[in-house]
Amino acid sequence: MVGALYGAVESGLIYAIMALGVYISFRILDFPDLTVDGSFVTGGAVSSVMIVNGTNPFIATLAGAFAGLLAGVLTGLLHTKGNINPLLAGILMMIALYSVNLRLMGQPNIPMLNETTLFTTLSSWWQSMNLDGLLLIPFEWFGIADYAPRTFYVIVSMIVIVYLVKKLLDFFLRTEAGITLRATGDNQSMVRSFSTNTNLYIVAGMGLSNALVGLSGALVVQFNGFADVNLGVGMIIIGLASVIIGEVLFGKDKIVRMTLAVILGSIVYRAIYSLALRVEFLEASDMKLITALIVASALVIPNWLDKTNAKRQFKKSKKAALKQKGAVQHASAK
């Protein structure tokens, strides 16, 4: 049980980078981008092929991000230069990338069990520094050493990586170019009237978004120890779930706060996922349905709560008004 939660935090952090990518396209650019299902695998495919061929895992990971960037740029171009509706542009890229990914991989599944991946490298660094012993001390103090994870290296290294990505993103989104990117999603015609090539910003934003998705895909295949061509199915919904859960639970207006909310949303989503897997009558194959239910309810429930609150408020004020009227009538009758 507790072990499953550590797993949820680990994968939540890895998938958080993908969720940040979805946040850029879906929330900042207002572009519902289905490319994600394809570019996630593209990132994984490129890095796994390179790793199997003996490339340095750091370079392979960055190459995965770059492959995602290219996919995003193409989607952006389809939309801006080709005048294709955003949803359709994303679907086209997603379908096209499925074939591209198979070509890249050469087979539907690439195992990397005995390869040097980013995580095996990090793990050996970690062992050599013997930090696990240090981090176990507080657990021993409280006498809950049994509940400690076997090793901390995935969580610690992912916190560092996600923190860096978040910091960079926060920084960029507050630069002049970042402000313009956000405004492009907010009021495109206004931004154009201030001498901005908004198409350029959309293409660049889509590139950035899918670069993060590709990076996340590259990390996931290395974490899992294999790449699979079907890894990306439903990825966009997982990203949306993280963004929406994050917004509902932790969201605030400020950019710094929003990116943090998306990361936490991704972790919460993974926690819900792993808890749902423990329910006896549910099977792993039900997860897509459960994800869809999570997203739907995260979208519907806040609206619904707002409405009932407003109704209650209305009834309250009506009652108060009636009471007052009654009091006045009473007084005049006297």
Partner: protein, 265 residues
């Protein structure tokens, strides 16, 4: 500063819906001129403005701004030296962003947008200084979302954003039409002040004859795709609303068919 040579524009040519929006318009503005354009619906005022802004291209003729032929220049390039305020107060600002960030976008008109630096203290002080000239307290709300401002405040901000970088041409497209009367006079006064302060060459489209007479040093009356009457500085001084209506009747041989222009006080 601004020159229009024999501009023609026809919408939906060779179809039953064919409509001649502009028919051989040739006009010229000197630096610092402020022209107001009036005319009934469909007279071609907005088409003319869009032609200047680059959202529409003429079928024939050319547009010169500051000695440069900009006829084929796309909107976003032309916007480097053209400031615009739209009729709809929601169009000129980004609602989900703060006042400061909106100002930053308008500042980006003049230079390349940096991917290294954001809003610095120096630019923030500059924004504050400009915002304080509006006298509606926006300078203390730099970090408020623009979506929380009222229509009048948003339009005042749009106007400031369009002018403070001193564009060569300022285009105002019925920018008070969607506001209530008190906000309208606020915006009109701001328009006067800002145009004077930055000595902007301005083209303003309006439905209100009184506004057209009150503001600016020149006036064009448009009908059926052409300028049918114009008043220069001297002529405009003594111009009244009945004068304008008479002029229209004289030229066209019919009454001006525009309730909004007639009823507007």
């Amino acid at each position: 500063m601004l020159q229009l040579n024999n501009i023609h524009k026809t919408f939906y040519p060779n179809t039953p819906d064919e409509r001649r929006a502009l028919n051989d318009v040739s006009q010229c503005l000197n630096p610092g001129d402020f022209v107001t354009i009036i005319g009934s619906n469909g007279a071609g005022k907005s088409t003319l403005l869009n032609m200047l802004a680059g959202t529409l291209y003429p079928d024939e003729g050319d547009v010169w701004i500051d000695g440069k032929n900009v006829t084929a220049m796309p909107e976003e390039k032309r916007a480097k030296f053209i400031g615009r305020v739209f009729q709809n107060p929601l169009m000129g600002t980004a609602p989900g962003m703060t006042i400061e960030e909106n100002m930053m976008i308008s500042l980006g008109r003049t230079k390349r947008r940096s991917i290294i630096s954001g809003v610095t203290k120096k630019t923030r002080d500059r924004f504050r200084e400009h915002l304080s000239t509006l006298e509606i307290g926006l300078e203390d709300r730099l970090n408020s979302k623009v979506g929380l401002l009222s229509g009048g405040e948003r339009q005042a901000l749009s106007l400031l954003m369009a002018t403070f970088t001193e564009p060569k041409i300022l285009l105002l497209d019925e920018h008070t039409a969607a506001l209530d009367p008190s906000k309208e006079s606020l915006i009109i006064n701001l328009t006067k002040d800002l145009v004077e302060k930055h000595k902007l060459t301005t083209v303003m489209v309006t439905h209100q004859m009184e506004q057209a007479i009150e503001l600016g040093n020149r006036l064009w009356m448009m009908d059926e795709g052409n300028v049918i009457f114009e008043a220069d500085e001297n002529k405009k001084k003594d111009l009244t609303v009945p004068d304008l209506l008479n002029e229209f009747e004289k030229v066209r041989g019919r009454r001006m068919a525009n309730d909004r222009a007639l009823l507007a006080k």
